[in-house]
C-alpha cells in the first residue's frame, strides 16, 4: 500500500537560509505523526510544502499519490493553520457552509460539524465574538469536512483548555481509525505523547530523530534521577552510605544513574531499611528527551 504522504530528500532554502535539509519521511493511512521542533525549526515550512502553498527546491513530495497543491491533492487534504483565523463578520455556521460548498459538500452539514466540536450553541454568533479556543474549534470543524485522507494540523492544541484538548485527541482517534493519516506539529511534547504513532523531531531544518516515544527514550539513554528522603536522625548515616548522592537544602539526597544502573542502585537503597523514609524515581521527562535531540547539533 502506498503511503498517504511520502517525502524524500526534501530541501527548501529561503535565500541563504536552509529551512529544510534532506528531510525524508513517510506516513501511512491511519497513522498519526507528531512533528516537533523549536520555533523556526522548519515545521510550518514543511507543512506548507505538503499543502502546496509554497514551492520547494529539491527532493520529492507525494501527497495521496499526486503533486502537493494539485486539485486532486487539495480535495483530499485538510489543514488547520496555527491560530486559525476567519472573517469576523461571518457566523460560525455561515463560515462552515462556505467551506462545505468549496469542497462540493452539502452546506446543510454545517450544524452537524459544529456540534461535533461542541460549538452548536455559538453557531449563529459572529466569529468576531469568539474566544481563541472557539476559533480553533471552528478550524477543527472545517478539517472534518468530507473525510480527508490527510490531515495537516499546525499547533492544533494551542489555545485549547485541557478538557478540550482531550476531546480533540478523541476526535483524531476516530479519524485515524477511519484511515485518515494525520501530521500534526507542536512544540510541547507532553501534549502529543501517547496520542501519536511516530514522533519526528526537527532541528535547524534537519530531521534529527524519528520513532515511537519509547524508541526515542531508549535511544536518548538519558540518566534517571532519584530522590531519597532520610528518616529522622538518619541523614548523616544515609549520606555516608550513598557517597555519590548530592545533598540539597531541603534535606533530600539526589542521585543520578544510567538506565542500566537503576535496579542495582534501587537494591542498595532498599537495603538501607529504616534509614530511608521515602524514595522517588524520576525518569527522564518528555521535555528532557526532546531537548536532548533538538540540541544535538549544538543549538
Amino acid at each position: 500500500m502506498t503511503p498517504t504522504l511520502k517525502i524524500s530528500q526534501l530541501t527548501k532554502r529561503f535565500g541563504e537560509v536552509e529551512a529544510l535539509q534532506a528531510v525524508s519521511l513517510s506516513l501511512e493511512a491511519g497513522k498519526r505523526a507528531a512533528l516537533l521542533g523549536h520555533n523556526g525549526a522548519g515545521k510550518s515550512t514543511l507543512m506548507k510544502i505538503v499543502l502546496g502553498l509554497i514551492p520547494f527546491d529539491g527532493g520529492e513530495v507525494s501527497v495521496c499519490g499526486t503533486t502537493p497543491g494539485s486539485p486532486a491533492a487539495r480535495s483530499q487534504v485538510a489543514y488547520l493553520p496555527e491560530n486559525a483565523a476567519f472573517h469576523p463578520a461571518l457566523t460560525g455556521e455561515e463560515q462552515l457552509r462556505h467551506y462545505l460548498a468549496l469542497r462540493g459538500e452539502n452546506p446543510k452539514l454545517a450544524m452537524d460539524l459544529l456540534a461535533r466540536v461542541g460549538l452548536e450553541k455559538a453557531a449563529r454568533r459572529r466569529i468576531g465574538t469568539y474566544s481563541k479556543g472557539m476559533r480553533q474549534r471552528v478550524g477543527l470543524a472545517q478539517t472534518l469536512i468530507g473525510h480527508p485522507r490527510l490531515l495537516v494540523l499546525d499547533e492544533p492544541t494551542s489555545g485549547l483548555d485541557p478538557v478540550s484538548r482531550r476531546d480533540f485527541y478523541n476526535l483524531l482517534d476516530g479519524l485515524s481509525a477511519e484511515g485518515t493519516a494525520i501530521l500534526l506539529s507542536s512544540h510541547v511534547l507532553t501534549e502529543v505523547e501517547a496520542r501519536t504513532d511516530t514522533i519526528l523531531i526537527l532541528s535547524g531544518g534537519k530531521l534529527v530523530a524519528e520513532g515511537t516515544l519509547s524508541a526515542l527514550r531508549a535511544q536518548a539513554a538519558l540518566p534517571v534521577n532519584m530522590l531519597v528522603r532520610p528518616a529522622d536522625g538518619h541523614a548523616k548515616s544515609l549520606a555516608s552510605a550513598l557517597p555519590e548522592a548530592v545533598s540539597g537544602n531541603d534535606g533530600l539526597l539526589r542521585l543520578t544513574c544510567t538506565q542500566a544502573e537503576k535496579l542495582p542502585l534501587l537494591a542498595r537503597i532498599s537495603a538501607l531499611g529504616a534509614g530511608v523514609a521515602d524514595l522517588d524515581v524520576i525518569p527522564p521527562s518528555l521535555e528532557d528527551i526532546y531537548s536532548h535531540f533538538s540540541r544535538r547539533d549544538g543549538q
Binding site: 502553498l53 509554497i54 493553520p81 486559525a84 472573517h87 460548498a101 478550524g139
Partner: protein, 273 residues
C-alpha cells in the same frame, strides 16, 4: 461554478455586514438626487427631455463615483485576507485563485449594480415626475446602468490587483487612491492640457481618440454621451465624444474588465501565503 457562487454569497454577506451595501447605495442615491435637482436649470432651451439632461449629469458623476466606490470595496480583497491570516487556509481548498476572485467580483459588482440602479432610478423618478416626456430617456438610463457596472468591474479588478501587489491593506488603500486620482482626475487634466497646447492640430485629432479609448473612465463617458446624443450639453473632454464611433468605446468598455481581471489573477498568483 458552485464554488464561485458560494464565494460570492459569503462576500456579499460580509459586504452587507460591513455596511458597504448601505454606504454605496446611500452615496449614489444622494448624489443622484442632488444632480437631478440641480439639473433642472439647463432644460427648456436645449430642447431635450429632462431625463436626458439628468443622464448627462449622472454620467459625469458616475465617472468619479463608480471607480471610487469600486476601489474602496476591492482594495482589501486580497491584502485583508493576508492580514487576517485567512488566506493560507482558503488556498488549501480545492478552489482556484481565479474562482476566488470571480466570486468576489460577482458579489462586489452586484452591490455596485444595486447602488447605481437605485441611485440613477431615484434621479430618473424625479425627472419623470416633473416632466412626463422624460420617459423617452429610459433607454439612456438603462445604458448608463450597465456601462456603470462594466466600469465598476474594471476598477474592482484593478483594486484586486493593487491589493495583491501591496499585500497590506494600508498599502493597498494608498495605491487605490493614487490609481483613482491618476485614472479619473489627472488623466483628463493631462488630455485637456494636450488639446490646449496643440490647438487642434494632428495630435488632437489622431492621439486624443486613442487616449480616450485607452482609459476605461473616458471610454465610459464618451460612450454614454455619444449614445445619448447629449454631447452638446456635456462639454469638456466629453466634447470629443462625437469623433469616436460608438462601437469603439463600447469595445473598450467591454474589454477593460477582462484585461483588469487577467492582471488581478496574475498578481494574485504571485502572492505566497
Amino acid at each position: 461554478m458552485n464554488r464561485i457562487l458560494a464565494t460570492a454569497a459569503s462576500e456579499f454577506r460580509i459586504a452587507f455586514r460591513n455596511r458597504w451595501v448601505t454606504i454605496a447605495t446611500a452615496m449614489m442615491v444622494l448624489f443622484a438626487l442632488v444632480l437631478a435637482a440641480a439639473g433642472s436649470a439647463p432644460t427648456g432651451d436645449v430642447g431635450v427631455d429632462r431625463l436626458s439632461v439628468t443622464i448627462a449629469s449622472l454620467t459625469s458623476l458616475a465617472v468619479y463615483l463608480v471607480p471610487l466606490l469600486a476601489l474602496l470595496m476591492s482594495f482589501d480583497a486580497v491584502a485583508g485576507e493576508v492580514e487576517r491570516g485567512t488566506l493560507p487556509l482558503l488556498l488549501t481548498y480545492p478552489v482556484s485563485r481565479l474562482q476566488v476572485l470571480l466570486g468576489k467580483l460577482i458579489a462586489h459588482s452586484a452591490i455596485l449594480a444595486l447602488a447605481v440602479t437605485l441611485g440613477y432610478g431615484a434621479a430618473a423618478l424625479v425627472a419623470v415626475w416633473s416632466d412626463p416626456k422624460a420617459v423617452q430617456g429610459l433607454g439612456s438610463l438603462w445604458r448608463l446602468i450597465w456601462t456603470s457596472v462594466l466600469l465598476g468591474a474594471t476598477f474592482l479588478c484593478a483594486g484586486y490587483t493593487l491589493s495583491a501587489l501591496a499585500r497590506r491593506p494600508s498599502g493597498a488603500a494608498g495605491l487605490a487612491i493614487a490609481l483613482w486620482l491618476v485614472a479619473v482626475v489627472l488623466y483628463d487634466l493631462a488630455l485637456l492640457a494636450l488639446i490646449v497646447s496643440d490647438g487642434g492640430g494632428d495630435l488632437t485629432t489622431q492621439a486624443l481618440p486613442i487616449a480616450l479609448l485607452a482609459n476605461p473612465a473616458d471610454a465610459f463617458r464618451v460612450f454614454n454621451l455619444a449614445a445619448a446624443q447629449a454631447v452638446a450639453i456635456a462639454g469638456g473632454i466629453g466634447g470629443a465624444a462625437d469623433a469616436i464611433p460608438l462601437w469603439q468605446s463600447a469595445t473598450s468598455l467591454a474589454l477593460w474588465p477582462l484585461v483588469a481581471l487577467a492582471l488581478a489573477v496574475a498578481a494574485f498568483r504571485k502572492v505566497t501565503p
